[in-house]
Amino acid sequence: MKRETMINALLALGLLAVPLWALIADEPFYITLATRVAIFALAGVGLNIAIGLGGLVSFGHAAFFGLGGYAMGVLASHAQSYTPMMEWPFLIEGSNSMPVIWITAVIASGLAALVIGALSLRTAGVYFIMITLAFGQMLYYFTISWPAYGGEDGLSIYIRNGFPGLNTLDPIQFFAITFVILGLALVFSTLLAKSPFGLALNAARQSSERVETIGITPYRLRLTAFVISGMITGLAGALFADLNRFVSPTMFSWQTSGEIMVFIILGGTARLFGPVAGAALFIALEQVLGGLSDYWHIYLGLLLLCVVLFARGGIIGTLAGEEARHD
């Protein structure tokens, strides 16, 4: 456990050190890379609450990532064209304020997670995997065929949204925002794992029957976890859209769901910093292998295959030893 804490601290410092170095060396590209790591890690922290703590293998978290992205896209596009989103029964204007967008993203993805979760959690195991996947695809096709917000082409936002007191167009300041949010999400997820809710949810993952016998309904625990998980991933989606100043249906695609899952597994399932390690490795591989070959996904696939078959604890599991999970 001690060793894992050390690895976690190193990861956090590393994620902070790279953009600071890049700032001094005047290499803004690496700041953007670190920002992507932080955002992907945040999406993974969200999913890890469902998979790691709740045992809910969701293959549809792209739905929440995409909804977060579109919350940003829709609000900001109305703000940039000065057209209200809705005039009746009451007036809703667009917005280019990050806090407003984040809250909208969290609420929208939370509501979607409530509906998708309420239906999907009636099932378990492989049905659950396939159903969450299918719901993700449903939103994907919906955004493609809904012409109002760019359809298949997506939406471009010309100016990054604002945060009071900060210049969000400065890469390091935008990185700072994502880094702080990631930090808060990690703290929240630690607290959650140790809380009464975390204890019950984690027990429900191991033995549903046990939790019922002590008078707690596993379904409600799981649905709550799924909603929290979706909200965090949705927030990551809003940040990702703001990073790129662009949203498109790709954010909803099943590959996105798969990649968020890959961050967790590369890093180590149910490990607090697993998503951080996994997202960092993913981005590093993309840069290094992507520079060597256009077909770097082959190598990513082979590596992932090896991790699943031979190194089941992921990076953190391999470095910190087999003892995992919550104490």
Partner: protein, 249 residues
């Protein structure tokens, strides 16, 4: 006779052609240990599931604390104070012994939707959990991972979790199995006391324990209760001797 805490009235359950429960009547009086015995495959597990929830009888009712609970879920029955221990352990194996006991305390408290305060620092829950663990002599193992416990210790932990619920009745499914001689003697002494807190419906294969503890015994054979009575009555019952004890006698 006082009102029974738990009563099973005319329960029947079939799986296809197999009658797993056949018009079963059974009750549990305050302060008693009522043992349910029967050969393997007699339908004890099926009956327990219908009493504790999780399986709905085809006909008949289950009454608990004077209320018809036949259509209630396992969760609702647990909240009313019906505690159950499992034959095949259903503990959270990756968690520590203390966490399992805390989970029981959390269930009894009924407020699992708290997200920020560490459960290990909740002194109210901890008191309940630690008291329960010390009553079954597991407090020394509190920080151990449950998967590292012996089979007997897991049974004790099952009982401890049931204790944290402060229940109105216990249903215990073979708590003695895997305990060894001294272990089962300790548990026998413990259950002997426990019956005064809440009555126990005891499913058990260990006949020494059953004869030492039971106020009444019911014998289940092929889904039917063939006899209910005191230890002596059951020992003397010809049909029981033929159908069941015949194997040993």
């Amino acid at each position: 006779m006082t009102d029974p805490v738990l009563s099973v009235r005319g329960i029947s359950k079939s799986f296809g052609a197999l009658k797993a429960s056949d018009d079963v009547n059974l009750d549990l009086q305050p302060g008693e240990i009522h043992a349910l015995i029967g050969p393997n495959g007699a339908g004890k597990s099926t009956l327990i599931k219908q009493i504790a929830g999780g399986l709905r009888p085809d006909s008949g009712q289950v009454h608990f604390l004077g209320k018809d609970v036949t259509l209630l879920s396992t969760v609702a029955r647990a909240r009313m104070g019906l505690a159950r221990t499992f034959q095949i352990s259903s503990l959270a194996m990756e968690d520590t012994v203390l966490q399992n006991a805390l989970l029981g305390a959390l269930g009894a408290q009924g407020k699992p939707f708290r997200f920020f305060h560490p459960v290990l620092k909740d002194s109210a829950l901890r008191d309940i959990a630690e008291t329960a663990l010390s009553r079954v002599n597991l407090l020394d193992h509190a920080t151990m991972r449950t998967s590292e416990l012996s089979h007997g210790q897991r049974r004790q932990l099952e009982v401890a979790v049931a204790l944290t619920l402060n229940p109105k009745a216990f249903i215990m499914d073979e708590p003695m199995a895997g305990l060894g001689t001294s272990g089962s003697q300790n548990l026998t002494t413990f259950l002997d006391e426990l019956r005064h807190e809440a009555p126990i419906l005891l499913v058990e294969h260990d006949m020494d324990a059953v004869f030492a503890l039971a106020d009444r015994i019911s014998v289940l054979v092929y889904g039917k209760i063939i006899a209910t009575g005191s230890v002596d009555e059951i020992r003397a019952h010809p049909e029981v001797r033929r159908a069941y004890l015949g194997e040993d006698a």
